[in-house]
């Protein structure tokens, strides 16, 4: 049976009018549709200033010198690209759910990547579980979307989540700050809050896309249950009923709130997506609502 494409053409056409937005200003970096407030090398003229020793002679406005006999330097709008990095959770916990969270996360990532590429942003994608997986990088242009999709389709799920290790690896790999989109269920027994804080401390703008299956939040089962952790293999036997379900959901919601708090506290953004919600609705609903795309 032919594999279903991650995103169909109709949806892509709808994504054409969107752009990725970030809130932070990264020193010396702009990109895509974000106009730079800094001068530097570029093509678009910004202003003139007096020539100082050491300036690049190639930027001297010789015509102004002939007229005023003074050296003026032409300044141009700098055009460095703000890196947009997507981390996609490929751990074993993403494989649970009636609609696997892993597939859902890949579709979300593909949609965001397409939006970025259309607006000429530079996109970097990484799968991760215990460590960062192979990097995928591409410059702007929708013609780069096909390799991006191929990369996402090549991602394989498995492994145990270790957010702290992944973050350290990420920080060491990317000193340049930028927008960091994390698409994950954020289920890490070693607490991912600390890792996320660390990312924010390093100046990255966090956009947390929390993906969960409906039964991850409201388990439908009742009675005697014998549970196995998809990542650790740990077992737990318990009796589950309506009261327990309420407690479970409350704990889940509390965790989601904690993630949200971390994001907002660090000038980042957070959205929670149930896999029962179509990806298109998610992009034009919660993601657009939090200002990630507009």
């Amino acid at each position: 049976m032919a594999q279903q494409p991650l995103i169909d053409r109709t949806f892509l056409e709808k994504l054409e009018r969107l752009a990725l937005h970030w809130q932070k200003s990264f020193p010396g970096l702009v990109g895509g549709h974000n106009v730079s407030r800094f001068s530097g090398p570029g093509l678009e003229f910004l202003d003139h200033r007096r020539f100082h020793a050491g300036d690049d002679l190639r930027a001297v406005n010789w015509q102004a010198y002939l007229r005023f006999e003074k050296l003026f330097l032409k300044m141009f709008r700098v055009e460095p690209h703000t890196p947009i990095r997507l981390l996609i959770d490929t751990s074993e916990s993403m494989s649970t759910g009636a609609i696997p969270k892993f597939d859902y996360a890949r579709r979300i990532a593909a949609a965001l990547a397409y939006v970025g590429l259309v607006r000429l942003d530079t996109i970097v994608m990484h799968g991760f579980s215990g460590v960062l997986a192979e990097q995928f990088r591409c410059g702007g242009g929708r013609h780069h979307f096909s390799p991006a999709v191929s990369y996402l389709e090549r991602l394989s799920r498995g492994g145990r989540t270790d957010f702290l290790r992944v973050v350290r690896q990420f920080i060491s790999s990317y000193s340049q700050r930028g927008l960091l989109v994390v698409v994950s269920d954020f289920l890490d027994d070693q607490n991912c809050e600390k890792a996320l804080e660390l990312l924010a401390d390093y100046g990255h703008e966090l956009m947390l896309v929390h993906v969960w299956a409906e039964e991850d939040r409201v388990p439908p089962w009742e009675g005697e249950l014998e549970l196995s952790d998809a990542e650790t293999g740990a077992h737990l036997k318990l009796e589950f009923d309506t009261d327990a379900r309420g407690k479970y959901t409350a704990a889940f919601d509390a965790y989601a709130r904690a993630l949200r708090r971390i994001a907002l506290r660090n000038d980042g953004r957070y959205t929670g997506l149930s896999t029962s919600m179509p990806v298109e609705d998610a992009v034009f609903g919660p993601l657009a609502g939090m200002g990630a795309v507009a």
């Binding site: 009636a98 609609i99 269920d185 991850d216 009675g223 998809a230 318990l238 409350a250």
Partner: protein, 625 residues
């Protein structure tokens, strides 16, 4: 209780079986589920009083009880549980609809049959919904038309399609059939309902002794006045074969004396008429005489017909009296004439041998001391054939011989017992294995018979000469030969016109029951019984039946309908009239609809209270039991 005819025990076993299944499913449904979840952190937060210690204890016992109770209620609903007397529960009734010939009588503007059909329909409509009924058309035979049927439309259609037959009602047989049907085919016998006027062929006293406690009678008033034909008997005159003596019997089936005109016609020509006054319930005979050699259609008619016209007219076909034509080629005809002219059924024609023609019309040809060059295509008798031309080789000519033996075991020598007959001269024949030896002397057979290709008898001597001339043996021998060659020639004919149904024939003491044949007009044998020289057969359809017993042939033209005269008085224990629906339904209450509702409500409640609405979706969550 119905439930596919299950008993209480079987019902309990069924419930037990289903309950075991439900409990097993219940336990299976509530066994520990093994699930793979993305994390345990939230489960730990929700953990209830720790681990489960017993795996298969009953949890949610109310759910199980509710399920079992609902199933029990549904089973009882299927069993059609009722409150009230079981005697009044849904029953199987037998409807005996009188379809005897008398039902075609008119009573006012309608026939008795139409009145009976209306009453039968009314009874069927009065039956409670769960009851079934079997329609049986009752005349001389009890013929079931439907099985036990709860479809009212089918029953009414069967009632409407019923027509009067030709026979009278044998109510005893019909009641016995109805009781047997209820006994064998149903465990819930209801009523046996007789619909009709009650004219029966049974003995009313015998019928009164029969116990039918569940009998209901829908009486059809019978005020029919009728005087009609009862029988016609025709016999050929003993002295004059052209004369037929005709006896016509009429019977008054009404309650008042009637004067009727009885007329007789042969081939459309009136041959006599008589006016008769017949008392109520009495019979009267009228004699007529008809002279004819020709066959034809004889019809008797009674006018006025009265309310029942089925017996106002009867007909019978007189057979053609055709004598047996015997052609004799002889130079001494005067010697043979006495032997052949003794019976009016034989027409002998004597010719000289030189007048012989192979194509001459004859049933039997006798050659006396003459052998033609080409034998005729007919049965032949050869008397002293010339030695060289004899159809049977002649071994020798014996003189002064003694006829030592008659083979009385074959019909040609039947009754011939003459001993020590002296023959002046006789030819002795060679007998083939297939030949029948009739008489022989010490040196060989002198009378032989052959059956193929035409019947042939050859006599080595002249029986009308010599010492045999004055013996009884000679005419008997000729009679045997003629009867063997043409068996019907000496039959005694009797013609009767009568009623269809059971016919009894007195055979006489000398009749051989083994030689009796009873055949319909299409030549099909009819079943019959012989008891103390009386033969009895039955036919339900009008037609002609021939009874052949020895040399006697009796033809029954059964064109008259069978009418019973006895009137049946229903026993006092019998119920009468159409039952009121309320009287039947008030004695019990149907519980099954309520039981079914309760059972369904129980299952719905169980599902709402204990069912897991998310169960199907959960199945996709990589859960494994």
């Amino acid at each position: 209780m119905f439930l596919l005819n299950l008993s209480w025990l079987q019902l309990a076993a069924l419930f037990g079986g289903i309950s075991v299944g439900v409990v097993a499913l219940y336990l299976w449904d509530r066994t520990r589920r093994r699930l793979i979840v993305p994390t345990l952190r939230f489960w730990v937060a929700s953990e209830q009083p720790a681990q489960v210690r017993r795996r298969r204890r009953i949890r949610q016992p109310l759910s199980l009880l509710l399920q079992l109770a609902s199933i029990a209620l549904l089973l009882l609903a299927m069993a059609q549980l009722r409150i009230g007397s079981p005697e009044q529960a849904s029953r199987d009734h037998v409807l005996l609809l009188d379809t005897s010939a008398w039902m075609s009588s008119r009573s006012g503007d309608a026939t008795l049959m139409e009145l009976a059909q209306a009453a039968a329909r009314a009874y069927v409509r009065s039956l409670p919904a769960g009851n079934r009924a079997m329609l049986v058309r009752a005349d001389a035979l009890a013929t079931p038309v439907t099985a036990f049927e709860s479809n009212r439309r089918a029953l009414e259609t069967a009632i409407d399609n019923s027509r009067p037959g030709s026979t009278a009602l044998n109510l005893g047989q019909a009641l016995e059939f109805a009781q047997q049907a209820q006994r064998l085919q149903t465990g819930r016998p209801g009523e046996i309902v007789y619909v009709g006027p009650g004219r029966i062929t049974d003995n009313p006293e015998d019928l009164a002794r029969r116990s039918v406690p569940n009998l209901r009678v829908l009486n059809i008033p019978d005020h029919v006045e009728n005087c009609g034909l009862e029988k016609i008997g025709i016999e050929r005159g003993a002295s004059d074969p052209e004369t037929w003596h005709i006896l016509v019997g009429v019977h008054n089936y009404g309650a008042r004396p009637r004067t009727i005109a009885l007329s007789l016609a042969f081939e459309g020509r009136s041959i006599g008429s008589q006016q008769l006054t017949v008392a109520a319930g009495a019979s009267q005979n009228a004699n007529f005489e008809l002279r004819t050699r020709a066959g034809g259609h004889l019809e008797a008619q009674v006018t006025p017909a009265g309310d029942f016209d089925g017996n106002a007219r009867a007909s019978i076909d007189l057979p053609v009296e055709r004598p047996l034509r015997v052609l004799v080629y002889s130079d001494r005809p005067e010697t043979l004439k006495p032997a052949l002219a003794a019976s009016s059924a034989v027409e002998p024609v004597f010719q000289r041998p030189y007048e012989y023609s192979p194509g001459a019309r004859a049933d039997i040809v006798i050659f006396d001391r003459f052998a033609p060059a080409s034998p005729p295509e007919a049965d032949t008798v050869w008397i002293e054939p010339p030695r060289g031309d004899s159809p049977v080789p002649v071994r020798e000519t014996a003189t002064d011989a003694t006829l030592s033996r008659w083979r009385t075991d074959n019909p040609l020598a039947a009754g011939l017992r003459a001993q020590d007959v002296r023959l002046d001269s006789t030819e002795v024949f060679y007998a083939d294995p297939d030949d029948t030896v009739v008489a022989e002397i010490d040196s060989g057979p002198v009378i032989l018979a052959r059956s193929e290709p035409h019947k042939l008898v050859v006599l080595g001597f002249n029986p009308v000469a010599g010492s045999l001339r004055y013996a009884l043996t000679t005419p008997l021998l000729f009679a045997n030969i003629l009867r063997w060659m043409s068996p019907g020639i000496f039959h005694r004919w009797e013609l009767n016109a009568g009623c269809v149904g059971t016919v009894t024939v007195e055979l006489g003491r000398d009749a051989d029951p083994g030689g009796v044949r009873v055949v319909s007009e299409r030549g099909r044998p009819l079943p019959y019984s012989v008891e103390e020289h009386s033969l009895r057969f039955f036919t339900a359809e009008p037609g002609t039946v021939r009874v052949v017993a020895g040399d006697r042939e009796i033809v029954y033209s059964l064109s008259l309908p069978q009418v019973a005269e006895a009137r049946w008085k229903a026993p006092e224990t019998a119920r009468h009239g159409i039952p009121r629906l309320a009287a039947i339904t008030a004695d019990y209450s149907e519980l099954w609809p309520w039981l079914a509702l309760l059972g369904a409500a129980g299952l719905l409640s169980e599902w709402l209270l204990f069912g897991r609405a998310y169960a199907p979706a959960a199945a996709g969550a990589r859960s494994a039991r």
